[in-house]
């Protein structure tokens, strides 16, 4: 069978869900005839027309608000931000309107906001950010970040079907680099479930998205050195699958949290806090984090690379932790 890339998995999910449910529709900038900046919706405009693949003017807040309105009367909008960085322009609609509606008056808000995020492309401070912590701090939002084509497909489909707003973080660096044979069928990945990608005994790594792959590479490296590392792909950041996480940490006694977002008040802090509280008696070493320094993402590729929490930094941190 042909291999499916991460971005193709996203396109497949969109196509399958639009086919399944006539209420599903897409909104975003340049997503119609052009198929989107990353071509995630390529071909769908031709198939479903201008009322289900809606090219919006250059705006974010207005588009998110409009999607909310449509969702309140039974539609299931899937909104693409051209880059995750631009979601800040529609921040209020998400955190105050979309997120709070169900709690306030029990109206379900089935909508997905797709955020192409992350660095590694030398794209500078405004096309490289990882905004998940802002949304994880906002009650009422589900925040997911798949790391494989399989989960990109299965979680997007699950997100479209859930009656709640889902912030869907898709990593641009993985778009064409990750490939899998997915086969046929209606493949779903449950929301709210982490996944132990690699079993191990001495240290647990908690990560997601691009850094998950870097963590796996680092675990491989450590294996050569005789250290057994367990790697957990969180997949859903909020709500959190505490059970899977705590089970792993209690088993290994050590934890390294790895993410691409800047470190201070990043989502890794929440993981550290829960572990330091709920696994305290099982910890055999300090809770460590590897993440981006508290800086914007520099434009020059070498500068950016020096800050990205890649496999070298993870490997070094794992070594240190294993020796602790």
């Amino acid at each position: 069978m042909a291999e499916t890339t991460y971005i193709d998995a996203i396109r497949r999910a969109l196509g399958e869900e639009m086919e399944r449910d006539a209420n599903v529709f897409l909104m975003g900038q340049d997503i119609a005839a052009f198929g989107g900046a990353f071509r995630a919706s390529k071909g769908l405009f031709e198939k479903y027309g201008r009322l289900r693949v809606i090219n919006t003017p250059l705006m974010e807040s207005g588009a998110i608000g409009a999607a909310l309105g449509a969702a309140l009367v039974g539609k299931r909008p899937v909104l693409e931000m051209q880059f995750a960085d631009f979601v800040s322009c529609g921040f209020n609609q998400i955190v105050n309107n979309v997120a709070k509606t169900y709690y306030r008056w029990e109206a379900p808000v089935p909508m997905v906001i797709r955020l192409p995020f992350g660095g590694g492309a030398g794209a500078g401070p405004f096309h490289s950010q990882s905004p998940e912590a802002w949304f994880a701090h906002t009650p009422g939002l589900c925040v997911v970040a798949p790391s494989t084509p399989r989960d990109a497909l299965g979680m997007l489909k699950a997100a479209v079907r859930d009656p709640n707003p889902v912030i869907y973080l898709e990593h641009r660096f993985l778009y064409r680099r990750e490939k899998e044979d997915l086969g046929e069928g209606d493949l779903l990945t449950p929301l709210g479930r982490a996944h132990v990608v690699r079993e191990g005994k001495q240290v647990t790594v908690l990560s997601w998205s691009w850094t998950l792959h870097e963590s796996l590479a680092a675990a491989e490296e450590l294996a050569k050195e005789g250290v057994s590392v367990e790697v957990v792909d969180l997949r859903t950041l909020s709500p959190l699958d505490e059970e899977t996480i705590f089970t792993s940490v209690r088993k290994t006694g050590k934890v390294l949290i790895v993410h691409e977002a800047t470190i201070t008040a990043g989502f890794g802090a929440e993981l550290a806090a829960r572990v330091a509280d709920q696994c305290f008696e099982h910890l055999d070493g300090p809770v460590r984090r590897v993440a981006y320094a508290d800086r914007p993402s520099p434009y020059n590729k070498k500068l950016e690379q020096s800050l990205l929490p890649g496999r070298e930094r993870i490997t070094a941190a794992l070594r240190k932790l294993a020796r602790y």
């Binding site: 709690y103 589900c142 479930r193 829960r274």
Partner: protein
Amino acid sequence: MAATKRSKPPPPLTPAGTDPKVLRRAHFLMRLSRAWDSRFEAMARVGRIGRWYSAVGNECTTVGTALALGANDAISTVHRDLGAVLTTYLDATRLAPALFPAGDATEWDALRPPPQSLLDTLASQVFGRRGGFTRGVDRSFHYGLVKPDWGIRHVGMISHLGSMIPVASGLALANLQDGNDRAVLGFIGEGATSQGDFHEALNLAGVMKLPLILVVENNRYAFSTPLAEQYACEKLSDRAPGYGIAGETVDGLDFDAVHAAMTRAVARARSGEGATLLECMLPRMRGHAEGDGSYELIPPAEREEYLKQDPLARFEAALLARGQADAARIKEVTEVTKAIIEDAVERALLTEEPELAEATRPVFAPGEVATAFARQSTEVTGG
């Protein structure tokens, strides 16, 4: 600082060209809205409720526009739109049968639920009680009621002004997608027109020819800020050409003018001609919130002028002048509506506080995500 520059409204006006059924219903609903405000203003003055944002002066606009809608047209309201809410929710003919001849009930009324119970729910809502739409979780008009079976599609506000305009545009978009001819009515104060969301939503409405009517309730002040510090155009409807949509400014004291302009706008929406920006000029008859000191900042002479312009008084004067109602009828409507509100408020005040468990009720609608949320440790979920 005075709201300068705008010309004074024209002399007294008359609801001449409007269907008598509509006039009867309008009169009842405007009085109902006014009675509600009077009751709550009184409670605010003695500190029995925390804040009250009065809709006195807005009734002609809120009722006059909402009455031009039909079942399952949608409305999106902000903080002075009690009149539009009542207009949308209530079968007036069942609420006050004595006031309406048999033929006044509409097809929509047949769909509507018993009016008394909705009114009670609304009163409980405003008090943050158990029986309200949000059961204590959110304030007064911060909720929605989307009940297609009742013909009601109402999306309430969040506090962030301007934010609901895009949402209203989305309601309109769904109509376009469904290929129906329903319209959407959104309200906004003149102050909130300064928000970016106003622009983004109206631009979308223009580009997509959305069946949206945005009514600007221009009461010349936003909290303490007079319109000269809010915008520099002559009329806010001057913004309509910039979005390629229809624009009109009408006198919010003139029921006929409001209703007729809205009727035109609804026709445009239904026929696919697109959106309308309808500005209604209102007198600022109250301060921002009762007792917050903002009214005292308006020069006394200006205030007096506004108080003289009461649209409800003008409406009734016109009814009398035209022979569309006599003094007895006006008195009766005034008293009946007052009694209805008194009753609803008294009943609501007797209702219970919400259950404490409401505080930690779900933030997610039932499904996979909600289940996962509930699996977390209760320190986090608060559950």
